[in-house]
């Protein structure tokens, strides 16, 4: 595949993530912080996000599986995940966490279980999409090309 085509594919793919609301402008902020001196900044932050989120989701599953759910433990985890997803621009994960927190506040166990499923769904979605995005970038770099800057024309 020609380099130009790869670059176009990447742009279209990235654009689709924004249009679907999977990513928001904070992701663009992160991309702006990437340059020749820090060429892997975004993928490094996102990797940290994945590691951190895997841990949090695991803790959440354990906490919600307890006989008596301790919401004082559950809420801070959701708050953390809300924060980190917001920091990388994972909009749908963040929004799912907001809903989750309201069920925590109500101490609604059933609701929280549903929310956890929703959060996991959104998380695996953004994880999958971002992994694809980074693969596309790697292919471009491997072909000797540059990753095009994201245009905000949409």
């Amino acid at each position: 595949m020609e380099l130009v085509q790869m670059q176009k594919n990447l742009q279209d793919y990235t654009k689709s993530l924004f249009l679907e609301g999977i990513l928001d402008s904070q992701f663009l902020q992160l991309q702006q912080l990437q340059d020749e001196s820090n060429p892997d900044f975004v993928s490094q932050v996102v990797s940290l996000f994945f590691q951190d989120s895997d841990r949090i989701l695991n803790d959440l599953s354990l906490s919600l599986d307890q006989q008596v759910v301790d919401f004082k433990k559950v809420d801070p985890h959701v708050h953390q995940l809300k924060g980190s997803s917001s920091s990388i621009g994972a909009q749908r994960v963040k929004n799912a966490c907001v809903v989750f927190r309201s069920f925590c506040e109500q101490q609604n166990v059933e609701g929280c279980h549903r929310c956890l499923q929703q959060v996991k769904q959104e998380y695996y979605l953004v994880k999958n999409r971002l992994e694809t995005l980074f693969k596309l970038e790697q292919q471009i770099v491997a072909s000797g090309g540059m990753i095009p800057a994201m245009e905000l024309g949409f």
């Binding site: 490094q44 932050v45 951190d52 953390q80 809300k82």
Partner: protein
Amino acid sequence: MAVGEVMRMEVPAGGDLTVTSPELHVLAVDDSIVDRKVIERLLRISSCKVTTVESGARALQYLGLDGDKGVSNLKDLKVNLIVTDYSMPGLTGYDLLKKIKESSAFREIPVVIMSSENILPRIEQCLKEGAEDFLLKPVKLADVKRIKQLILSNEAEECKNLSHSNKRKLEEEDIDSSSSSSHDDSSVKDIPSSKRIKSESENRSSLL
């Protein structure tokens, strides 16, 4: 250093000639590993030196406020700004802010609070306690640039005030000193200051 010479280099009393790049050293406190990575990059790209810690307790330890002498005596670890998350387990950002403002050694270090929650009473409480500013997360580059400007202009203001008050003192005492510059505020390095806790404050004017 001649009168009127724009100050680019720090010449400390010890006589060592050190060329220092005009950098703020920022201590960033956040329990989120993702946010620490982001704030560190935001600050570095804004030409700040950054130290990140994961909790209020570690921040106090770093500053040497936890009872140990710690690293607070080392010159190049002098902190010019503290940026801290509000919601942290253990010591909150607010608790940290209070401890810093209660400390005679560190109360003049500006503290900026970050929070993902736009809660007005919280913001007011922090500002009342002496926080320099309050940033809503997720933090953006524009926020960091603004804070940096704020800190630098505050220090320039401080140096300017010191410069003027010392100039008056010198005139009163009728001392013939080459450091009493009437036109160049940047020569503040020669001015003794009881208020000065930051040894690099003389660098600040060259940053403008």
